[in-house]
Symmetry: C3
C-alpha cells in the first residue's frame, strides 16, 4: 500500500487550516505521504473543485486517497461520502456536486455515506461545527489511507445516482461544426478551456495549420468571433496571436501565445458561455 | 521517532528561500518528513506567526518540531530559543513574541537559548547575516528533529518568563455580557475571529437560534452594532446575513454567510478593536 | 540513494497542473520524496527560473534531481536536456536559458539531450502537446530519481557549450568603485539584489558603518542616488531607512528596513538597470 493522501480545499495556504488537517492526518498515521492538489479553489466554488479532481486524479497511483473540502454547507444537513472511482482512486468529500466530473468522465464504482457520529475525530469540540475539513474529512481520509478503516465500514452503501451532480456543459458535433461551453480558465496563462472533447473535434478532420471560425456567445451577445489557426502548441503562432489547440485534458482550448485571452476578451465561464467551431476551407 | 519538521515563515513561496531551508534540513538528514505550516505570514507580523502556531500545533503528533521565522530583527542582538510545550511540541524561533499565544494558551515546559556560535550551519557565509532561517533555524531544527542534537545541548536553559511575549487581548464575562477584541481574520472567507473564549461565552447560556447585540468599537467609533443570530455554522442564516458562532479554535467569531464581513464593515485587528456581545431576550 | 525530486515551474498552485506532475512521478516510484522549489516563477520568465535554481540548488543533498519547467516554447522544436552540475545535482529542463546561472556560477559537468520519442510518458495523448511538464519532464525526472534510468541513457551527450545561455549581468571592481546591474527582486520584502559579488565589493575594504554613494541608472535616467550605510542586516538602520548589505547569496543588495524599496523608487530589473557603488570617506 502506497499510503498516499492528497488534499484539496478552498482554504488557501495563508493561515494554519491546511496545516491542522495535515497534523490530524499524521496523528492518525505518521507514515502517510501527504500531498496537496490545490488549496486555492475559489471560495465555495464546487464546479472548480470538481474540475480539478478530473484534471489530476487520473495521474496518481491506484489506491491514492483524495480529500476535497469545498463545503459551503458545512454544519448543515448535507451528507458526506467516500467513493471509489473506476480507476481505483478514493475520494472523501461533502456530497455537494464535487464529484460531478469524475462521475461523468471517469465513473464511480462504489459510494458510501459517512456515518458522521461514528467517524468524527475524537477530541473534536462539540460546540464547533465550521471545520469538518479537520474534524471529519482529513481524519477519516487518513484512516482510510492508513488501512485502519475499510471502505465498507465508512457507513451505509449508496447508489451511484445518490451522488449530487451538477449539469455539465456538452460537447457536440453536428452540421460540420462542434459546439460546447467555455468551462474553465487556465488562470495562470489566461487561456480558455472548453467542454469540447477532442474526439468530437476530430470529426471535423482537422489538420495542424487549418483555420477555424471560432465564436463565443453569452446571452446572445458575441464576445469573440475570429478566424483561428489550429496548432499543436502556442509557438505555432506569433506572440499575442490566437491559437486553437488540444489541451492537456484532451479538450479543445483557445489561447493567445504568451498573452491573456481571458483579459483581452472579457469572457466568462459556464453553461451559458457557448462556443462553436467551424472549419474554414 | 516520527521525524516531523514543520516550517513557518513570512518568506512567501515565490522565490527560492523556503526551498533553500528544506534543502539544508534534508542535508542534515534526508529521512526527515518536512511540511509547511504557512509561509504567507504577513511580512514582519509576529502576532500572526504566534496565532498560527496556536491554530495548528496542537493537531500535530507529539515530538513534531516547528521552525518559525518571522524575524524583523534578523542580524541584530535579539536572541533565539528552542522551547518544548506542555503538549510536547518543539518550537525553534527568534525570541521576539512568536511564542506569546503558545505560552498563554498551551504552556511552555522548557526553554533553551540557542548558542548561535555553536549551532550556525557550517559553511554559512561569515559576511551574510540576513537569512538565519536557512543558516540557523532550519539547520538546528533539522538536527533536533533527526535526533542528532538534544534539547539540553541547544544552549543555556532559560526561565519561562524570559520568553518575550506580547500583551494578548482579553476574554471576559461580566454583567451579562462578554467582551474581548477582534484578534485575527479568517482571511480567505472574510470572517472575524475574536479573543472571546467559548467558556466565557457559555456563561451567557446561549442556545442556537438566540439573538445577541454585537458591537465593535475602535477609538470610540462604532464600526458595527447589530442584532446577530447565534448558530452552529454559516448555513444557519441566509447568504450575506450575519452569524455569530464558535470557530474552530473554540473562540467566538462573526461572519457573513458566503460573504466578506471584513470588507463590508472595514474592521481592523488588535487590542483596540473592542467587541462586546450581549443577549437579547 | 535519497530519491529526492524537486519541482519548479511557472504553473502556479491554483489549478491541478502541479498535482498531475506529482502524480505522474509517484506513479513511476511511490517512494520518491517530492518537494517544490517554486511554482510561482513569473509566466515565461526564464531568467527568474535560472536565478531560483542558483538560489536553492546548492543547499540540497548531492544527487537531488530538479525538474524546472518554464517553457514558452512547449510543443516547438526546442530541445530538452538533463545536466549534472559540478556539485552533483541533476537538472531536467527545456534547453532555453534556464541553466544560465548554474552554468556560470556553479558549473556543468555533463549534458545529455533528452530523446523525447523514447522518454515521453507512455499513455500520453498523441494530440496534446502543451504539458511537457507532466508528459515528459516530471516523468523522466522521476525515472532518474528512482534509479530506473541512468544519465547516459537519457539521449545523446552534448558539449557544455550547447547549453542555451543568456547574457548575465556583470560584477566589476574598477577605479575605487564596484559596478553591476539590478538583477532580481526579493519580492516579498521589496529589496533589490544586484549582480555585484561580495568578493568584488570587498576590494573596497568596506567596514560595517561605512557610507557609500549608491547610484542606479536606466537609459541615462537616474532612479536612485543616495548616501547609504553598509550594515550587517536591516536593523542596523532605522525603519524605512536605506541599507546596503550582503545578501544570502553573497551578492550586494539594497533595502529599506521593513519597507519596499522597489515600490518607493520604481526600479526595474535587467542588464540595463545599472548600479554603481563608491565609498564616501
Amino acid at each position: 500500500m502506497s499510503k498516499i493522501l492528497v488534499l484539496q480545499s478552498d482554504f488557501g495556504i495563508v493561515d494554519g487550516a491546511v496545516s491542522a488537517m495535515i497534523g490530524v492526518a499524521l496523528s492518525v498515521d505518521d507514515s502517510l505521504k501527504i500531498f496537496d492538489l490545490s488549496h486555492s479553489i475559489s471560495p465555495f466554488n464546487i464546479h472548480e473543485a470538481s474540475y480539478r479532481l478530473l484534471q489530476s486524479l487520473q495521474y496518481w497511483p491506484e489506491g491514492s486517497v483524495f480529500v476535497s473540502v469545498v463545503d459551503p454547507g458545512v454544519g448543515s444537513k448535507r451528507n458526506s461520502v467516500v467513493v471509489r472511482t473506476r480507476e481505483n482512486h478514493i475520494v472523501v468529500t461533502p456530497n455537494n456536486g464535487t464529484l460531478s466530473h469524475l462521475r461523468k468522465f471517469i465513473g464511480i464504482e462504489e459510494v458510501y455515506e459517512i456515518d458522521v457520529a461514528k467517524h468524527r475525530r475524537k477530541g473534536a469540540s462539540n460546540q464547533s461545527y465550521t471545520f469538518d475539513g479537520r474534524d471529519l474529512y482529513a481524519y477519516i481520509g487518513a484512516r482510510l489511507t492508513s488501512g485502519q478503516l475499510s471502505l465498507v465500514d465508512v457507513g451505509p452503501k449508496l447508489n451511484e445516482d445518490q451522488i449530487v451532480s451538477f449539469e455539465l456543459p456538452l460537447s457536440r458535433f453536428e452540421n460540420n461544426m462542434v459546439k460546447g461551453s467555455v468551462e474553465i480558465y487556465d488562470e495562470r496563462f489566461g487561456s480558455l478551456w472548453t467542454s469540447i472533447l477532442v474526439e468530437d473535434f476530430n470529426q471535423l478532420n482537422p489538420e495542424y495549420g487549418d483555420h477555424f471560425k471560432v465564436k463565443i456567445l453569452h446571452e446572445e451577445v458575441t464576445y469573440l468571433e475570429e478566424d483561428v489557426l489550429y496548432g499543436r502548441a502556442f509557438n505555432d503562432v506569433h506572440v499575442h496571436d490566437l491559437i486553437l489547440y488540444v489541451n492537456s485534458l484532451n479538450r479543445i482550448a483557445l489561447a493567445l501565445n504568451q498573452d491573456s485571452l481571458v483579459k483581452k476578451y472579457g469572457i466568462g465561464l459556464g453553461l451559458d458561455w457557448k462556443i462553436s467551431i467551424t472549419p474554414i476551407r
